[in-house]
Symmetry: C2
């Protein structure tokens, strides 16, 4: 099982936004939709051995965590809009501290990064990290930020994580996930 987690710093935590304005009113929800696409899609197939968490930190709060699990996932299509629709359904579901499923393979709970970090041994995808191609055994869980850098509180929480870079250029979160999965695909050949 390979795990990704993406921090959405401004991503809305309720469902009061429209699929027509995911970059604006939804708090860059488009970034998170693309990350989910990158984490799961193969040509005419899904990566069933992947889980992808979205850590939503925007208004109105409190923070929520969405979980997409490949082995149960249904109704996921590659376009941003349909992924946004699954996210919106999850955010419309009342939830507490334990995951509650909104559609097959998509669940939501209250809480954020601190709890998630206690549940998986993450590495941080960061352009200043060690090159993934030269890295020895890779961890199974990877944390990546959205279009914004990790804030001070997140930096404290992640200070001890190993850092891995996917290449010499600074990439969007979804592109970093794609490159990392390509490296994992090659190692699993």
């Amino acid at each position: 099982m390979t795990v990704f987690a993406v921090v959405g710093h401004r991503a809305r935590t309720d469902a009061s936004w429209t699929l027509n304005d995911m970059p604006g009113g939804a708090g860059r929800m488009d970034v998170l939709c693309r990350a989910v696409n990158a984490a799961f899609f193969l040509s005419h197939d899904l990566r069933r051995d992947v889980a992808c968490y979205l850590v939503l930190r925007g208004e109105p709060g409190p923070g929520k965590t969405l979980r997409f699990t490949g082995d149960r996932l249904r109704y996921l299509n590659p376009d941003e809009r349909s992924t946004g629709s699954l996210i919106k359904k999850a955010l419309a579901l009342p939830c507490g501290p334990e995951f509650r499923e909104s559609t097959p393979g998509v669940s939501v709970r209250e809480g954020g990064l601190a709890r998630l970090l206690a549940e998986h041994e993450f590495a941080l995808l960061d352009e200043n990290g060690a090159d993934v191609r030269g890295a020895g055994q890779l961890p199974c869980a990877f944390l990546v930020s959205d279009h914004l850098n990790l804030d001070d509180d997140e930096r404290v929480l992640t200070a001890d994580l190993p850092c891995i870079s996917v290449g010499p250029r600074s990439l969007h979160a979804d592109h970093a996930i794609t490159v990392l999965l390509n490296e994992l695909d090659r190692r699993q050949q």
Copy 2:
């Protein structure tokens, strides 16, 4: 200059479709939007040394070719919907056999793959090709298909092109572009 071309087998050649249904009524225009995103976006930057052609082969015809050129490109945002909006504007512009600019860095002409193949020395991105990591000097132009395989006519046109694979799994067009650019980034370091 790195060049990508993506064949959109069912992508509409007029502007009579809605941004709310790019996978359906627009003929999988969402696939082409994601390919443009992958070709150009860096974190907080654009790849100015890239051009990306979209070869649209859907209804109502005749075929059209769109060209995105990084050094002139404006108004491109990473979300699918805004890229779709630029494509729609280009398709609404009457055009003939020569490129005509619809918005800065986006142009459109009539014609399709045969002419484009005569203008650039393409390699075909294909899962059965030679592994990009082990390849010697790479070409500057890469052709990739959308969610459908090349058809018989296209196979004849491309029969003599070198084939390059980006890894052991069969990937979506945009993911293949992302992995290929990562290899180029590393070689240009």
